[in-house]
Structures are given as C-alpha cells and as structure tokens.
C-alpha cells in the first residue's frame, strides 16, 4: 500500500504537541502556502488534486471554495467536526491524536478563501477531541501561527473552537450555522447556499474535518501527486472506519478504489468476518447509506463504483453485518436513531421516523402484520425528498434497501411472530459461541 497521507505520523509519540508536529514537518505546508501561492492558486491546486468532501456528500472541495460569493461581507470558514454519523469514527481520532494537522488545514483553507474568522465546530460528546483542538489552537496562537500577520505575512486569522451539545442534525451544514449563531439546530431552506448567504449572512465555506486535515499534504506534495492516488474520478486516499462484525475493526486509510473485499477480508485490515460466519450485508458509508448485498463485496471503494452498486461512499463508515444478525432488528436500531435525532421541524421527517420505528418495533417483537412491510415502503416514499434537509431521506435508506434485499425476513417476522435468524440457528443446533446472534429473541 502507498504511503499514508492523512494518517501519516499519527502514531508518533507526542505528535499532538506543536513542537513534535513541527519536527515532523508540520506547518511547513502553511509556510509554503503563504510564501509561494496567491489564494486563488491554492484553489486551483486543490481542484487539480481532485479532493472531494470527506463528510458525506463528496462534493469537489476546490469547486466549493470557488463558489464563495464575491461581495464585501465578511467571509467565514466552518470546520464541520460534528462527527456523529453512526459507523463513523475518523474525525475524532484525527482531532484527538493530531489536532495540529486540522488547525494547519484550517489556516491554509482560510488563506485560500480569504477568510479572517474560522470556526471549528467540535461535537459536544467528543470531550477529549474538543480539548485537544482547543489546546492546539492556543499553541498556534502562542507561536504566531494564528492571530495577526501569520508567520510574518500580511494574512491574519482568528479561530474559535465551538463545542456542540448533542444534536446529530448540527452535522447538516445549515443547522450547524444556526447552532453557531446560538439557536436551535434547525436546518435552513436552500438556496441560498452557504457560499452565498451563510454564517451571519456572509459567504461561508463549510468543510469536514478530514477534508481540511488533508489540505496541508496537498500543498506540500502538490495537486498532481495527490491525484496520483485513487481512481480517475475519485482521487486520493481516505479513512475507512470499519466496524461491526469483522475480526479487526478499525480506521484504515486506503487509496480510493480499493475493493470492499480487501478492506473486509485482508489480514492487514478487517481480517474477515467475526467467528468466520457468512457476510450478510454491508453498509458502505455510514447508516444513512443504502445496504449492499454480499455479491457487491468486490465493488471498488470509490464514489462512482459504490454509487453504481446502489449506495453511497458517504462518511466512509463501513459497517459489516454477518448472518448472525437479524436484519429487522438492525434496521429498527438504525431507524430509532433517526427518530431520536430528527429535529422536528419538518412534519414528514418528524412523524415518518416516529411511525417507521413503531412499525419496525411491532414487527421485531412479533406483533406485526404482513401489510406492514409495504406500509413501511409507502412511508419511506412519503418521506424521502420532502423535508428541508437530508436527514429524512437518510432515515429511509436502510429500510428501502433492507426490504428489497431481505423481504422474506420481514415477512417471516410478520407471519411467525419470531425471527428467521434465531429460528435457523436453533434448527442447525450450532454450538453457541461467545458471540450469540444479535437482535434475536
């Protein structure tokens, strides 16, 4: 595998401190950016690199920056470090272990976008990550890397670390801005897009933590170098958060385009399915993305291939489900999440996520009816695309794709009032192992 980019030096002792980070080449990219490039040059460089947003949508980063409205209002940068998509645990690691990489990325991006006030919105639950980023920002101020005339240049930047307080919805960019402005995290209607009317009414660029932390490496190595990794359309590397029923879950940085099967089965990464069971389903990009069936396991992990396979690369949270798991139970658990996290602003999402959870719950517990399966599909149809933000759509992904692929399991629950997975287990009389089937009754 090629040299790591975003996780490089992650395990160097003391890399969370400014001096060690600098001894390992830290902030050289910032110095180079200020010395050698005009802001617009950096935007071009990022466009050449092909870097796309690592938060979920995968929008080309350089293009996003170039969309900023040219007016005389103050511009802002928000780093979205409100990591909370189920199955995703990469930004937390970056912030806890190498916070200066993020701070350096924030400074370079602010320079490129002509921003003089930047915010790092850290999820409230991530106490250590918040502390580390705050400390890194303080160290950067003390060393003249933040504040007035950074490294002797005429560029000045103020960075404020803002902590969330428990609301998944604030990872949605317009809700994040509402939250930063001191309000309930209700999404805004778009357009206008944040690049035109954003935080405090000014043009605003919002990037994910991993995206910004990738920027210094691109400045140091060049756009063409970064673009040499990955595939033609999905360039570079990204962190895949492998979780669920695999032998070695973990965060693995891979060039885009490596097959899912490599991530799941290769000894360097996942090492295969837990207890050597059969693969049942894969959720490739966090719980908001469509479930893939095992025959898609050779799909390359890049934006286009995963889309062609019927899902999304999303946040990079690859969740592996083995045949020990009842799919109805798993989907119920994911749907509960959206019910709890729906902000309540839009009726289809607020009511839809509630009723979908109710119906899944009665199916799971053996009180469901056969018609519930189609009723779920009908609610999904009435929910998707009918709310301000994508949370409602996200809540339907696992249900629609799950029913399409595992309809018989849902119907079994309705017909027999019990779970197909646990019934099969009993029939086969398998010796019970440490990991008993999950979600079976």
């Amino acid at each position: 595998m090629p040299e790591m980019i975003i996780t490089k030096n992650l395990d160097v002792p003391g890399i969370d401190k400014l001096d060690v980070y600098r001894q390992n080449g830290g902030y050289e990219a910032l110095a180079k950016a200020l010395r050698e490039y005009q802001p617009d040059d950096i935007i071009e460089l990022i466009k050449t690199s092909g870097l796309r947003g690592r938060g979920g949508a995968g929008f080309p980063t350089g293009m996003k920056w170039s969309f900023l409205a040219k007016n005389d209002k103050p511009r802002y940068l928000c780093c979205n470090a409100d990591e909370s998509e189920p199955g995703t645990c990469k930004d937390r690691v970056l912030m806890e272990q190498i916070p200066h990489r993020l701070v350096e990325g924030v400074i370079i991006t602010s320079y490129a976008c002509k921003v003089h006030t930047a915010f790092i919105y850290v999820r409230g639950e991530l106490a250590k990550a918040g502390r580390e980023v705050e400390r890194a920002v303080d160290e950067a101020y003390a060393a003249g890397l933040l504040g007035k005339n950074i490294l002797g240049s005429d560029f000045s930047l103020d960075v404020i670390v803002h902590r969330g307080a428990g609301a998944y919805i604030c990872g949605e960019e317009s809700a994040l801005m509402e939250s930063l402005e001191g309000r309930r995290g209700y999404p805004r209607l778009k357009p206008p897009f944040p690049a035109v009317v954003g935080l405090y009414g000014g043009p605003t660029v919002i990037n994910n933590c991993e995206t910004l932390a990738t920027v210094p490496a691109i400045i140091a190595g060049g756009g063409d170098w970064y673009a040499s990794f990955g595939t033609e359309k999905s360039k570079g590397t990204r962190i895949f958060c492998l979780s669920g029923q695999v032998k070695k879950p973990g965060n693995y940085e891979l060039p885009l385009g490596v097959p899912l099967s490599t991530l799941i089965y290769d000894e360097q990464y996942g090492g295969g399915i837990l207890d050597d069971r059969k693969l049942k389903a894969i959720i490739p990009g966090g719980s908001s993305t469509f479930i893939l069936s095992p025959d898609k396991v050779d799909t390359p992990l890049d934006y286009e291939s995963i889309a062609a396979a019927g899902s999304m690369l999303g946040s990079g949270g690859v969740i592996v489900i083995s045949d020990a798991t009842c799919i109805v139970g798993a989907i119920l658990r994911m749907t509960e999440f959206y019910r709890d996290e729906s902000c309540g602003k839009c009726t289809p999402c607020r009511e839809g996520t509630f009723w979908m959870t109710e119906i899944l719950e009665r199916l799971e517990h053996g009180h469901g009816h056969l018609k519930d399966v189609d009723l779920l599909m009908d609610i999904c149809d009435n929910l998707a695309g009918k709310s301000f933000c994508p949370l409602g759509d996200a809540a339907t992904s696992s249900i629609t794709s799950g029913i399409r692929q595992f309809r018989e399991e849902f119907e079994y629950h309705a017909r027999y009032g019990c779970c197909m997975v646990s019934s099969n287990e009993k029939k086969q009389q398998q010796p019970t192992t440490a990991s008993e089937p999950v979600g079976t009754h």
Binding site: A127, I160, A165, E181, G182, S287, I321, R333, F337, E436
Partner: protein, 163 residues
C-alpha cells in the same frame, strides 16, 4: 449558584464572537459545569450575560441533549446503542450495567452517584461496544471490563462494594 467568575467568562465569550448570541451554547456549558444541570438561575445568568430573554436561552437549552434538565449522578455513564455497537452486543452490556447498578437506563441511583443513559453513536464504532463516563471513553468493553470499571468508579466515589 453561578459564580461571578463564571458570569465574567460568559460576558467574555459574548464579545469573542462576531455576534454575542453565538455565546449561548458555550455559556450554557459553563452554567452546567457550575451547577451540574441547567437550572432557572443558570438560564438567567446566561440571558443576562448575552442580553437575551430567559425564554430565548431556554429554547436553545432544551434542544440539545447534553444540557441536562434535571440533576444527574456524579458519574454519568452513557452507553452507545447505535448500530455498530449493537452489532457488538451493546444491549447485553446495558442490561449488565442495569443489573450491576440496580437502575434502569435513564435513571439515577438513589445515592446520586450514578446516572445510566443509552446514547446515540459516540464515534467509537471501531472499538465497540463503548461507553463514556463523564465524557471520557471506555472501549472494546466486555462484562468483565465493565465490572472492573464500575469497581474503579466505586473506589473513586468511596462506595462500599455492591453485592
């Protein structure tokens, strides 16, 4: 009680942001640190420091789950029950902790030592099942390591060993 020092920090935050209102969330964090949860006095202090109405501050405080609306235990245990932890049997971990602490999820022990909550994904998916105690992570848990953790917390709290 909200100390004068805490009120001063809130006022400083209000001038730190481009708009004072943005200081609501960090100020609520301060108020909660002072009193353990969001009290009417906490709301008033934030409202005064930022020059908002109490109702306005309360509208923010009630939206975010980390602002507690009632007193919590000294040790707040938040167990993740989202999908990645679910696939690693977090439900049996929750049941085990309920038994061990003698409370149900969402409750606080009578001595006020522990609150047990189940929470949504805490970004610990690759080291599931996981929980937080007062914001700090404990990962890859088993029933044994969870017991050892409670033993350690008991010692910190000076609690006699439970049966």
């Amino acid at each position: 009680m909200i100390s004068e020092q805490a009120k001063q920090r809130m006022r400083e935050l209000a001038s730190r942001y481009p708009m004072a209102r943005s200081a609501v969330m960090p100020s609520l964090h301060i108020a909660q640190q002072e009193e353990g949860y969001i009290t009417p006095e906490g709301l008033r202090a934030v409202a005064e420091a930022i020059n908002l109405t109490v109702a306005d501050v309360e509208s923010v405080a009630t939206f975010y789950t980390m602002y507690y609306q009632k007193p919590q235990g000294k040790k707040i245990i938040n167990v993740c029950t989202s999908i990645s932890c679910y696939l690693r049997n977090c439900d049996s971990l929750v049941s085990h902790l309920e038994k061990r602490l003698g409370i149900k999820r969402g409750e606080t022990t009578a001595d006020g030592n522990y609150t047990l909550n189940t929470v949504e994904c805490i970004a610990s998916c690759s080291s599931a099942p996981a929980l937080q105690v007062n914001g700090e992570f404990y990962e890859n848990l088993t029933q044994e390591s969870a017991d050892a953790l409670i033993d350690q917390l008991d010692r910190e709290l000076g609690v006699e060993k439970r049966v």
